[in-house]
Symmetry: C2
Subunit: 440 residues, 2 copies
Amino acid sequence: MTTATPQPQLQRTLTRELSQHEGQTVKLQGFLHARRDLGGVQFLVLRDVSGVAQCVGSGLTLPLPESSVEVVGAVKAHAKAPGGFEVQVQAFRVLTAAVEPPPVEIPKMEWNVNPETMLDYRVVTVRGLKERAALKVQAELLAAFRDHLINEGFTEISTPKIVSAGAEGGANLFPIDYFGHPAYLAQSPQLYKQIMVGVFERVFEVAPVYRAEEHATSRHLNEYLSLDVEMGFIESEEDVMDLETRVLAAIMTRLRERAQPELALLGATLPEVPAHIPRITLMDARQLVTEKYGHAVGGKDLDPEAERLLSQHYAETEGTDFVFVTKYPRAARPFYAHPELNADGTPDPEYTRGFDLLFRGIEITSGGQRIHDHAMLLESIAAYKLNPASLEGYTEVFKYGMPPHGGFAIGAERLTAKLLGISNVRYARAFPRDRHRLTP
Amino acid sequence: MTTATPQPQLQRTLTRELSQHEGQTVKLQGFLHARRDLGGVQFLVLRDVSGVAQCVGSGLTLPLPESSVEVVGAVKAHAKAPGGFEVQVQAFRVLTAAVEPPPVEIPKMEWNVNPETMLDYRVVTVRGLKERAALKVQAELLAAFRDHLINEGFTEISTPKIVSAGAEGGANLFPIDYFGHPAYLAQSPQLYKQIMVGVFERVFEVAPVYRAEEHATSRHLNEYLSLDVEMGFIESEEDVMDLETRVLAAIMTRLRERAQPELALLGATLPEVPAHIPRITLMDARQLVTEKYGHAVGGKDLDPEAERLLSQHYAETEGTDFVFVTKYPRAARPFYAHPELNADGTPDPEYTRGFDLLFRGIEITSGGQRIHDHAMLLESIAAYKLNPASLEGYTEVFKYGMPPHGGFAIGAERLTAKLLGISNVRYARAFPRDRHRLTP
C-alpha cells in the first residue's frame, strides 16, 4: 500500500462541488475510474458518489483501476474536463490497491453487450456510471413514494415474507423448510395489507416479494421490490386510481428535483403525469385495439402487443404515457376482487372493480377495490371453486367489520426500467434473481 | 347492511380534530370500538386512525363491536369524554357490520394476559390501541432512520433475500427450494451492503432478515426488520459510532415530534441521546461488572445479566441509557471484522474494531469496521479455519479496491420494544414468526 502523508486538516470535497472551489486546494476520495500515463504526465479520472473528476499530475505511480485513492490538488477551470474543472495533483495516496484488473473495463461497459457476463461480474460492474444511475433513480423513487404516502396519512407496515399459504392461490410459490414445517415465500402482502387497513386505515409497504415463475423474460424477476398500498373507507376503485395518480406525480417531481444528473446520463425523459389519467374499460380497450390497429387480442386480459398499442393510442390522441384499464372481468382477477355493482347495488356477476395501469406500453400496476363483506367473500370463494378451508386464514378478518377498501402494487424495478428506457428489468435491480441466477 | 342516506357533502373529520369543530356538524368514520345501550340512549366509542371519540344518540341499533361505521353529529365540549369533546349523533350508518363478536374485547386487552391467545387472534387484536401504537412508533422510527441517512448522503439499496450461502457461515439458515437448487433466506445483507459501498460509498437498507434459531425467547424473532447501514472512506469504527449516535438522536427527535399520543398511551419515556455516547472496551466492561457488581461474566462476550449491569452503571454514573462496548475479541466476532491496529499499523492478533451498542440493558446493535484489504481477508478466513472456496463469492469484490468501511445494523423490533417498555419483542411486530408460529 502506498502511504504518503495524509492531509487530515482538509475536509473531503465531492467531485460535483469542484466548481465551488476554483483556485483552491481540495481533497478528493474515490475510485480510480480510468488512468492514462503519458510518461512525464499522468491523467486519472477519480469517481466518487457524486460523479467523476479529471486529475493530472506528474511522477505518479498509478495503481490498477478501481483502486480506492485520495487526491489533494488545486482546482483549475478546464473546458475539456468533465464538469469544466480539473484537479492538478499535489499529493496522491492509494487507500486500497486493487489486486487484479477488473474483469471488464468499467468506463467502457455497455448494457447490450454480453448481459449475462455483466451480471456474472455484477459485484464490480454495478459500479458503472449508468448501472448505478439506474439504482440511484430507484432510491429516489422509493423515497418519493413513501414521503407522499406519509403526507397523505398512510402508515408504513412490515408484514411476513414467510407464509403458510399463497395469497393468490398455490401456484408459483418457493417452498421453505420452516423448522420441519412446509412454508412459502410470500408472493404479495395482499392479505396482510388488508388486515392492516383495520388498524391504520391507510397503509403502505416497500418489501421484496417472490414469484417462482419458470419463464425467463426481460420483464420478470423472481424476487422484486413491491410498492404496496391499501386504503380504507373508499367509495370505489376510483379513489385508488386518484391516489395512484398523485403518487406518480410526486415521484416525477422528486426525480426532476433530485436525479437530474442520472436522468441526463441515461438520456431518460420523465413523463408528465396528467391530473386525470385516462381510464378505459378492458372491454373497450380490447375493442379499440382491434378496430384501430387490427390486432386480435388473445386471452381474457390484454396481451403485450395490445398493451403497447393501447399506450400508443393514448400517446397519439391525448399526449400521455399513462392509461388505466378498468373493470376487469372476474375471470382475469383473483377471488378477492370486488365485483362491479349494478345500478341497484347488486353485484355484477361478470366484471370487477379491478384495474391495471399501463405506462409506455407495459403494465406497471394491478389494483382495485377488494371485497370487504364476509358473505360476499365466501360466495366469491365458492364461485372460483376454491377450498374455503384453505382460505380460512384469509377470510377470518372479514368477520370483523372491514370497511370498503382497495389498493395497488407497483413493481419498483419494472417502473424504474420503463422510466429510464432500460430494456431488461434485471438491470433495475442490484443483484437480480431469475430462473438461472442465484449469485452473486 | 344498514343503509341510511350517506352525507357525501360532508368531508370526513378525524377524531383528533374534534376540538377544532366545536359546535359544528362533522362526519366521522371508523370502527365501533365500544358500545353501551342504556335503553333510551346509546353510547358508542368510534375508533379511527387518529384516536377515539365518544358519541351519544338515541334510537340507534348498534351493530357488533368492530363494525365499520359512520357517524354524523354535532361536536360538544364534554369534560369526561376522551379528548374533552363528544359527538351528538344525528345520523348513524353501518358501513360493514361485523358478523361475529371479536374473540377478545379490543378495549380490554392486556399484553401480559394470554400472550399466545392474543397472537393467535392477531388479525383483530392488532387493532388494539396499545398494539397499534407500538407499530405506529416503529413506522416513525423507520422514517426517521431513512430521512436522516438520506440527509447525510446515504443511498437506499435493495439486496437479495434469496442467497446461495450465509454471510455469517452456514448455521441458522432457512433452506429454500430454488427451482430445484438449494438456497437460503439471507441472515443479513452484510456482503451486499459492503459491495454497494463500492458503488454509492454510503448505503442503507431496511428489509427483513431471517435467523433459523431454535430458541424461543422474549428477545428473538425468526424474521425481523433489519436497519442496515454501511459507509466507506472511514478512518476507523469511531466514525461509525458517531454516525449511529446522530441516527439515534434523529429518531428520538422525530418520535417526540410525531408520536406523542402513542408514547403517552404506552407510558413510554424517550431517552436523551448524548452528543457523545460513552465507549468502553469489552475487556474493561467485563472487569467493571465483575468488580463493581460481583458478577462473573461467562463466555467471551457479555451475558444478558452483564449487559443489564453495565447499563445500570452508566445510568447511575453518567445518566445515560446508552453505552458502546468496543474492541471485541476476534473470538466473539465474524471473520470479516477488522482487527484493531497496533501503534505501528500492524494488525492486533486478538482484538477487533467491532462494537455493540447497549440500550437500557440490552444489545440493540452490532457494528464495526470491516476488513477491506484482500490479503488481510484471506488471512482472516484461514485463521478462522473457514473454507476459502465457499467464501469466494464474498472475497471476490475485495480484489477491486474496497475503501476502508464499516457499518452497523439495528433490529427494528427490539429497539421499538425497548423504547416502549414492551417486554416481548413479538409485540413490536405485526405478525411475528417464531419457532412455533407461522400464522397468521
